[in-house]
């Protein structure tokens, strides 16, 4: 009976491409050691964290999905591996069981790297400028 799992990892913002590849390979090795298979390893991107984690305001998220048979001790092994061997890179991890009936697509917040819709956001942010514009239009200037 294969069970689907996913692991969300929060890494330091200074992680390089090579370090990320190493991370993927090391975790894949652990999973294959328990006769499992990695389904996906996605990089979400750089995010501003809701609070500082290990004195970092930003972090990079990685989502790894893998299948493994029930009854193996993989989850505990993976947790100890991440906390001991990868503690310098990975700040937080969350390993959870996936519901087999749940769809494989998921929604996630937008990262800093993804282009925001500037037109809409811009208008809402600059409320102050609207105020000053209306004052100018009403010809209420105190200029001499």
């Amino acid at each position: 009976m294969t069970q689907k799992y996913e692991a969300l990892l929060l890494t330091i913002p200074e992680i390089t491409g090579d370090e990320a590849k190493d991370l993927e390979m090391q975790l894949d090795k652990v999973v294959r050691g328990a006769k499992g298979a990695t389904v996906s390893f996605e990089r979400w991107g750089k995010y501003k964290l809701a609070y500082d984690v290990k004195k970092n305001e930003y972090g990079v998220y990685y989502l790894m999905r893998f299948d493994v048979d029930k009854g193996t001790n993989l989850i505990n092994d993976l947790k100890t591996y991440i906390n001991v061997k990868l503690s310098t890179i990975v700040m937080r991890d969350m390993i959870s069981v996936l519901d087999p009936k749940a769809p494989s697509t998921y929604q996630r917040p937008r990262s800093l790297e993804e282009a925001p819709t500037r037109e809409e956001g811009f208008q809402r942010e600059s409320r102050g400028s609207d105020f000053f514009l209306s004052a100018d239009n009403g010809n209420d200037s105190d200029e001499d």
Binding site: L8, L10, Y47, L49, A50, Y51, V53, G59, L63, R92, M94, S96, A102, P103, Y106, Q107, R108, P109, R110
Partner: protein, 95 residues
């Protein structure tokens, strides 16, 4: 025959009762109505879960969010997981 003494209820108690009575409209849980929405309740989906938090980051009670007990537990659990992963704050002035 003894006269029935009608006790005057204080204004404070009247206010408390009307506040507790609230609206009698039967609010249905949006997740019980539409089963597919349950899959959007996910710790990764912090933009959706944000709507169940107050301005200061506290989890909204079910009498305000409208969720039934079962789904309120799901929502709370996912919010707490999200907080651990720094996708949602534990508390804050406003976010």
């Amino acid at each position: 025959m003894t006269k029935k003494i009608k006790l005057k209820i204080s204004a404070r108690l009247v206010k408390k009762r009307t506040r507790r009575a609230g609206g009698n409209r039967p609010k249905s849980c949006r997740f019980c109505v539409d089963k597919a929405q349950v899959y959007t309740v996910d710790y990764k989906n912090s933009t959706f879960l944000k709507s169940f938090l107050t301005e200061r980051g506290k989890i909204l009670p079910s009498r305000i969010s409208g969720a039934c007990a079962r789904h309120q537990r799901c929502i709370s659990q996912e919010i707490r997981k999200s907080r651990v992963m720094a996708l949602l704050p534990y508390s804050g002035p406003s976010f």
